[in-house]
Symmetry: C2
Subunit: 219 residues, 2 copies
């Protein structure tokens, strides 16, 4: 095992440190954030920092880096109060990745990459037609992280669109069946293979594997 | 495709909604947070919300839910200012999952699950000896999310311990080679298979696959 101390981390060549540090958090989610300005200019940005915040109310968050290419996304969210989050699956990885190119604000990443904007029931922000799991989100809070100028964008889920066949008996969604991908570091994409579902942990017993479809009623 | 509107989400049976909403963010990281109280009581908690915040300074964050079983973790972090983050790999999934059981504060999850606490160079918080990627972190900020009482715990990475063979030429760490797992929903664990690394996106060209070891010098 190799140890890196604080000085060794600081002394790394800048680009190598960016790739190294980006690898440390573990596997990341791969989502496209869909927005539209007040003037109906659509925008789409890949984000690997979407994180679950709570089920009741259904809250979800993501990190916006300062000066990042996806600033248009935050501008649109603050203008209109809504956005969509769309899972990236194996079939749209390259288009999704390409949304991180530094396009001009008047250029829609949908048009540039060939992904299709679609609307749900009058919701202002576009979702990605090709995605197999999309949700509409209403902004509730932007928390500023004073230490490095990042912002934590928090929203409440308004609607969800997904393949019904992937929703299992106990409410769990089989996102592997949807071919949702995961990201490591800055730029690597992975598919997944299910290892196990484990029972709710209790102090007096070891966890056991439960069926993919969920725990039995008497569990 | 099935659409769920806000009322349909609210009307879901509570346990099903928890599992459903927990599935929406995509694949999650699987990490163990190691802490020790001022009285040297070790604590270990599995967390699926660790997220990259920045490379310079090297910042990393995670979400602490209110009233969760891992409150001892936050108490120890606030008491001592330090903690470790340790990747969960396929060989320690069950022990890692079991740390989420509601043990008493004086019970160490290390002892209860058979994982081994180890120390690096006088750092107060224990890392997990069995983990293949661990880091020591110093607390820098706890941002409160007013909307649902969660807290976003932000720290600066002080040291990193990993297998040197997994660090590729350009600084990227092959966490798949470390057998790091990923989580979906509340309780499912997955292994991964590399799909591709993609070149830095630019507006005027399509992304291309780059070798796992990193882009060529002239890329």
């Amino acid at each position: 095992m190799k140890h890196f101390n604080q000085k060794e981390l600081a002394d790394m060549e800048n680009e190598a440190r960016v790739k190294f540090i980006n690898s440390l958090s573990g596997f990341k989610s791969a989502n496209l954030i869909g927005t539209s300005s007040r003037r109906n200019e659509d925008n789409l940005a890949i984000i690997s920092s979407v994180v679950h915040l709570g089920a009741n109310p259904p809250l979800i968050g993501f990190i916006m880096r300062p000066h990042s290419v996806s600033r248009h996304t935050l501008e649109n969210i603050e203008e209109t109060g809504v956005y969509t989050i769309n899972h990236v699956h194996t079939g749209i990885v390259k288009q999704a990745h390409q949304t991180s190119a530094r396009y001009q604000r008047e250029q829609s990443e949908f048009e540039q990459t060939g992904l299709t904007p679609a609307r749900y029931d009058g919701f202002h922000a576009p979702y990605v037609e090709e995605s197999r799991l999309s949700m509409g989100v209403k902004l509730v809070e932007v928390a500023s992280i004073t230490h490095n100028g990042t912002e934590f964008v928090i929203g409440e889920i308004q609607w969800v669109r997904t393949e019904e066949s992937a929703i299992l008996d106990d409410g769990f969604i089989d996102i592997e069946a949807l071919e949702t991908v995961t990201v490591s570091g800055l730029d690597r994409y992975h598919t997944t293979s299910g290892l196990c579902r484990l029972s709710y942990a209790k102090p007096d017993r070891e966890p056991t594997e439960i069926p993919l479809s969920g725990p039995k009623q008497d569990d």
